[in-house]
Symmetry: C2
Subunit: 342 residues, 2 copies
């Protein structure tokens, strides 16, 4: 329907003025694909959170906390351990491993933190509405960072530089709570966006994608992938899983989605860097993952050649990572609660 | 003896031209304390290794590998996990924890990587002569990164960007061996030096230390600490341990030094940032550690006030960390051996 409307629109504006690239671009938009906006005000209106607006002091503080392993009970696991900014924002292992080497009890794979701000829901079961809330989960989870809220607050408030940083970020009367610690980590995470050649293309630079990438994009749409992988995130919404047939690694772990069996569609941004794939990290090769999605979600066969073409397109979603200065963290004091490996 | 020679020298150059700071500086030198040289050629002559000379492509490659958890069997532990550049180059836990959450079998504490180039020997038992050799140990150790040499080489050579980086660093005919991987990590580590106010003082800036720090430095020398804590590293040589009495946490772990009972004296640089202290991380407070050293090594009582004064001096050894851009690591390929948590 959208295609037809679009075709009509094209007829009105004069088809002869439009090249093949313009047609592909218009088609992509009509299929619900959206770029990361070039315009900073538009971008900010999407990534900002009025409950905790982005500011430089918050980004810097959030970055420190993101990299600080002292937010875990053991003192060894940071947010960055499983969402490693050096490795596409993920950990590259099948299921997350946390405190005491505990493998995620549902055998869940760590999603990338990059562009997670564009997700409509967080966690595989979508139980969290935004990053400020999401960040509270793994810090406390027994199988991840295993730190009770009080321990986290006591660690942070025992370190004078952190107290100073919170004052800079939130004013002299700030009360440092567990929620505030998670929220400022969320502020940092909201800045972790990675514009890619694909965005350049959707923003109007027709040479940003080569002909193979364009062919892959067209096939991606024609096969129906955009039914779930749409929007800025090319994913990030809750969708039914195993629609047409059963996932070949369905038995790996016990995850079955939310109470309605819905699962968060992962973003496809930086997908070439974030193997293994699926909620349980069952598949390691992108082309195999594409074919599996065709089979279980769309009920179609995707040939090797077609999967390769789509994978070439997905490569154009590998985005530019902002330069991150590795933080020098403020040292612990004698009042800082000691780490515990137990 | 050195003091006397020095006093004679001072008499010759004219004592009246020298203030109290000059005297303290001369005294420090006569006690074997040396700054990180200001002069880059002198510095390079100390930190460079003719077997693998420092170059920018090697530093960049070594940095990537230092941060890359894929050098471990699990894919989760990097050099930086235990020698965290955000935390004074160490991990802040009592005994290192590695693969499968294994606590170091001898309950050994991870030493800081910063300024480790100035150590005469590496590891607590001094069994390694230099960093290129040292870096081979933890990668393979079952309780640390647990990766066999072949796995490490297979991982690195499966990633085209790494192969390219090695060619840039060592020439087109480079053979990527386990030893070469460790050596280029060593090149990066040799650049991790942290000049401090103390160095400024020893290099001639008499205002670089305040009066309390100067008093602490004088006491540090008068108490005899420089017997072991001397040279650029203020440590880094093999020394007998428990000379005068038994260490209060001697029963923690089973480490007893090398075959002669000798133990590597830790550097005191950045010591205020690298609690807990001693080979087994038994003591968490710096002043307590100072008093314990007086008791077990020098056979003297160091009062609370004296320990505090020495700790103030040791604070001046907290050095400036070079800005580290967190690397974006090249992605794995389908040929990259998979991580294993077992």
């Amino acid at each position: 329907m959208r295609l037809i409307t679009n075709a009509l629109l094209l007829a009105v504006v004069g088809i002869s003025a439009l090249g093949a690239e313009d047609l592909l671009l218009e088609k992509a938009k009509s299929y619900g694909l959206e770029p990361i906006p070039n315009d900073i005000d538009t971008l900010m209106s999407i990534i900002n959170d009025k409950n905790d607006p982005i500011s430089y002091p918050k980004i810097e503080l959030g970055k420190k906390l993101y990299f600080d392993p002292r937010l875990s009970k053991s003192g060894l696991i940071s947010c960055n351990t499983c969402h490693n900014l050096a490795l596409g924002g993920a950990d590259g292992v099948s299921a997350a491993i946390g405190h005491k080497w505990t493998i995620n009890p549902h055998h869940l794979n760590s999603p990338t933190v990059f562009n997670s701000v564009f997700n409509q829901a967080q966690f595989w079961d979508g139980r969290s509405p935004h990053l400020a809330d999401q960040a509270q989960g793994p810090i406390q989870a027994d199988a991840e960072m295993a730190a009770p809220q009080k321990l986290v607050v006591d660690r942070v408030t025992s370190i004078p530089q952190y107290v100073e940083d919170f004052k800079k970020a939130y004013g002299a009367n700030v009360k440092i709570t567990f929620e505030k610690i998670a929220s400022v980590i969320g502020v940092f995470e909201r800045t972790l966006i990675t514009p890619s050649p694909y965005d350049d293309f959707l923003n109007g630079n027709e040479n940003a994608l080569n002909s193979k990438e364009k062919a892959g994009l067209d096939l991606f749409m024609e096969k129906g992938c955009t039914a779930c992988h749409n929007g800025i995130a090319l994913g990030g919404t809750m969708q039914p899983f195993q629609v047409a047939s059963q996932y070949k690694f369905a038995s790996l772990g016990d995850f079955s989605g939310d109470e309605n069996g819905m699962v968060k569609t992962p973003t496809l941004r930086n997908i070439a860097e974030t193997a293994p794939y699926f909620h349980n990290g069952g598949i390691w090769e992108l082309e195999e993952a594409i074919q599996e999605m065709g089979s279980i979600q769309l009920g179609i066969d995707i040939s090797d050649k077609e999967a390769k073409s789509i994978a070439v397109f997905l490569g154009s979603l590998t985005g530019k990572k902002s330069q991150i200065i590795y933080p020098v963290l403020p040292p612990s004091t004698k009042n800082t609660p000691k780490p515990s490996a137990d």
